[in-house]
């Protein structure tokens, strides 16, 4: 409404964030939050046993983690910021007003973390002999700093799902100490440790000789590491599931698999549980019979862990719908509080940027297109990923012409029929115009280019609201 509408009509705006964010989480969980403790543990192993080979192994793992975290890791972190600002600026814009200090402190911890990882890596070969002890301690401090960055950001993620007492309190701490906070942290910490172990298993065969004692011992050690963190991960996960608000838990089936495959939800859950068991099984194998385990098997936990983490993040983001910030802001970027006004006067009336200011009999399709642009494109494309043409074809088939009245009725009630859909943020005339536009899509493929390509128009807003023909009650 008040910002140009950035839109990717093929990839889908959510996918942009998803790709960047999942990549970031995989890296920061597996190579930083979990990675550093693992490396510090291995380094300490080398110090205690006096075996230089452990030290070298630890450094080699660190080198891989260092390169990836300081390039793709760091940039995808910034990328979450940039993409969220493009895809749902109202959500991120609101969150930074509430959580500014959280993010500011997080930044200070980030700077510390970067300085420490640079120091840790660059002094590995020079802080030797009597200074080794100090170097190990440096690793521990770095591990704490890494964990602290996660601890801070998770409070914000939890807030988006259940702001808890922030609805009435509106203070920073009431926002941070939301019901999801500790459960999510209790889940992610051991998860990060497990991921680090799975990445360690990938790197070990790469940097050790086949059949060597070191390889065997390293695999055994990492297997044990992973097993140690399995129970805490399960317990944390269960606590987290219990903390998810009921209404959101009901979205789980669609979250997991999309609407088309909703019926397969139970199967999907079983498959995912199976994947977890496979990871645990391989960790056990590594811990008990490290000599017999082959590289293809060693790579499996990492692949499964990435898939599982990606799935978890998708589910977490989806079950939150129809809200971006529960109870405050819908996924379409509009505030809950603004709905009476928008549903009375129409979104086209009040939008700063729009190509159509008012629906008339002559501009139905153009108006409907603009309504779609303003109200629906945060999640839908026209003909790309989660394309509305596919959605409509699934609902109404292709055998007969799509019925405008039926669509009007559906759009008015869709938030009741599909709980993850926000209510329609426009008036009756706009509903009809939107329906006209959607009907036109049955036989003609339209594509909506985002403002990053087309630019924007900003016709004057009316000073007095246009009296709406219908008074819509939710």
């Amino acid at each position: 409404m008040d910002l140009p509408v950035f839109h990717l009509d093929f990839l889908n705006n959510r996918m942009l964030i998803a790709i960047i964010a999942v990549l970031h989480v995989v890296i920061n969980h597996g190579m930083a939050v979990g990675g550093i403790p693992l490396i510090a543990y291995l380094e300490r192993r080398g110090l205690r046993t006096g075996d230089g080979a452990w030290d070298k192994l630890a450094f080699q793992i660190l080198s891989v983690f260092f390169i990836v975290t300081t390039t793709i890791g760091a940039l995808t972190g910034v990328g979450i910021w940039l993409s969220a600002s493009l895809v749902n600026p109202y959500a991120i814009g609101s969150l930074i007003r509430v959580f500014f200090w959280t993010w500011f402190v997080e930044w200070l911890v980030f700077v510390t973390e970067v300085a420490l990882i640079l120091a840790y890596t660059l002094t590995w070969k020079t802080w030797i002999g009597p200074r080794k002890q100090a170097h190990v301690k440096l690793g521990v401090v770095l591990a704490i700093a890494s964990w602290a960055t996660m601890a801070l950001i998770v409070s914000i993620l939890g807030f988006m799902m259940d702001p808890g007492s922030w609805h009435s309190d509106r203070t920073l701490f009431s926002g941070m100490l939301n019901p999801l906070y500790l459960p999510q942290l209790a889940f992610r910490t051991p998860l990060a440790m497990l991921m680090a172990g799975s990445f360690g298993l990938v790197i070990v065969p790469w940097v050790t000789e086949r059949g060597s004692q070191l390889r065997t011992e390293a695999i055994r050690t990492i297997g044990r590491w992973m097993l140690a963190w399995t129970i805490p991960c399960v317990l944390g996960g269960l606590w987290y599931i219990r903390a998810v608000p009921d209404a959101m838990a009901n979205n789980l089936a669609v979250a997991l698999l999309t609407q088309a495959l909703e019926g397969w939800a139970n199967t999907a859950i079983r498959v995912l549980m199976g994947a977890c068991l496979v990871i645990t099984g391989i960790a056990l194998w590594a811990a008990r019979w490290p000599k017999s385990i082959r590289p293809p098997v060693l790579v499996t936990p990492a692949i499964l862990a990435i898939v599982l983490l990606g799935t978890f993040e998708r589910v977490r983001e989806f079950v939150r719908k129809p809200y971006a910030i529960a109870g405050y802001l819908y996924s379409n970027g509009l505030r809950v509080d603004d709905y009476p006004l928008l549903q009375r006067d129409g979104i086209l009336t009040h939008a700063t940027y729009t190509t159509v200011r008012r629906v008339t009999p002559d501009n139905q399709i153009a108006a409907g297109r603009e309504v779609f642009n303003l109200a629906c494109t945060r999640c839908h494309t026209v003909d790309g990923v989660n394309g509305i043409r596919d959605v409509l074809a699934r609902m109404y088939g292709d055998d007969s012409a799509w019925n405008s009245e039926a669509i009007v009725g559906y759009v008015g009630a869709m938030h009741e029929i599909r709980p993850f859909m926000p209510p329609f943020p426009g008036n009756e005339a706009e509903k009809r115009a939107l329906a006209a536009f959607l009907v036109s899509l049955q036989f003609e493929r339209d594509v909506i280019e985002g403002a990053q390509v087309t630019g924007v128009e900003a016709p004057p807003r009316p000073t007095s609201p246009d009296p709406a023909p219908i008074f819509v009650a939710i």
Binding site: M1, D2, L3, P4, F6, L16, I67, T70, T71, I72, L75, V78, G79, W81, S83, S85, L86, P89, G93, I96, R97, V98, F99, F100, W101, W103, F104, W107, F110, V111, V114, A115, L118, D337, D338, P340, L341, R344, D345, H350, T352, Y353, A429, G450, A451, Q452, V453, T454, G455, V456, A458, P459, S464, D466, P467, A468, P469, I470, F471, A473
Partner: protein
Amino acid sequence: MIFTPVPRDIPLPLPASPELLHVLLVVAFIAHILFVNLMVGGSILVLGCELRGFGKPDYDRLARELAVTVTVNKSLAVVLGVAPLLLINVLYTIHFYTANALTGTAWILLIPAIATAFLLLYLHKYTWDRLADHKWIHVGILAIAVALFLAIPLVFLANVNLMMFPDRWTGIRGFVSALLLPNVFPRYFHFLCASLIVTSLFGVWYFGRATYPIESKFTSFTRPAIRRIFYSVAFMVSLVQFVVGPLVLFTLPARGLHPNMVFVILLGAIMALPAVWMMWKELSVREPHGERLRYIVAYLSMTVACMAIGRHMYRETALAEHREQMLVATQQWVLASEQAAHDRETGQALAATGVSPGQAHFQSTCGACHARDHRLVGPPLTEIATIYAGDPEGIVSWARAPGKKRADAPQMPAFASLGDEKLASIAAYMLEAGATP
């Protein structure tokens, strides 16, 4: 006619006092841009040295040594960029996000571009020996990274420039049109010169330190020789900067100019004069001793501070009026929103308390334009009741498809979609309410 959009702001309070946030922004930005200078300038100088190294091996060694600092500085440049990004998001939410959206393709491509540049820097650093016999490939890797570092600042500059000029927003069609706005390119060259100067002075210090093992790294280069190399670059680029700087000032759109701001900028420029003079003095002896470096840095720090403050003042001036307009629009919006919510609740409550449906519908639908006994937008009920006395059906017909009888009133929209039943109940109420004295 160009209409400058006045969007509403996020209706949540700022997280701290604006003054504190502004100070944090200026300070955080200085820290960030200094390391960006070191990263970009460093990459360019490494490339230059490596190319010269084809003829003189010590230049190749110099390039290699400098490359080590670039990979460290790049990480600090990125992490120090988070704070100014956060602060600019908070202080200029709508303006910044608008610019981001309008240049969205280039903006999001920053991520793979910077990540690639960083990976190439590592590749370049760690294959120095392995590619010793394939120098052109090795140089090529760095050349790609440098090309990226030359393109990337343009995206940032296009954004921070566009955000300051709301009157230009509706004229933008993609990144290139934002790039071509004044005065992005002068600022870009100003930045590139600054990067080379900052990195050169850094080089004077880094290689001139007593603790730096110069003999073990180089065959013929001495500390003074390396100082000379870097001082030369710093000095020559500073001379260029004295042309580019005024060009930036001259091409700045008038919207943000203010005597105070110009004074601060000129003060910064004047502060640079003794610094450049001292560079010249350093170069005027055969073996530069670097003793003046701390003073050069001190003066140029003041220049940087003035420039950072000055550019902030410029932005504030450029946006002051627009932000006031936005504040008013935001307040009006929140009030209208609360009123609509209240009306909805009241409407629902009234319907429950026995107010006739006709009255409830009228109030929520028609009351914005038709008052009981005076003209709002359209005629008052008293007048309508006179025209349509005893003829509610006439009101319904009109409301379904209003004509245009009055030259001095706007066209009434059609309300056919309300349905005849609701329209009939409204008409009945209107006649009743308009008739009572």
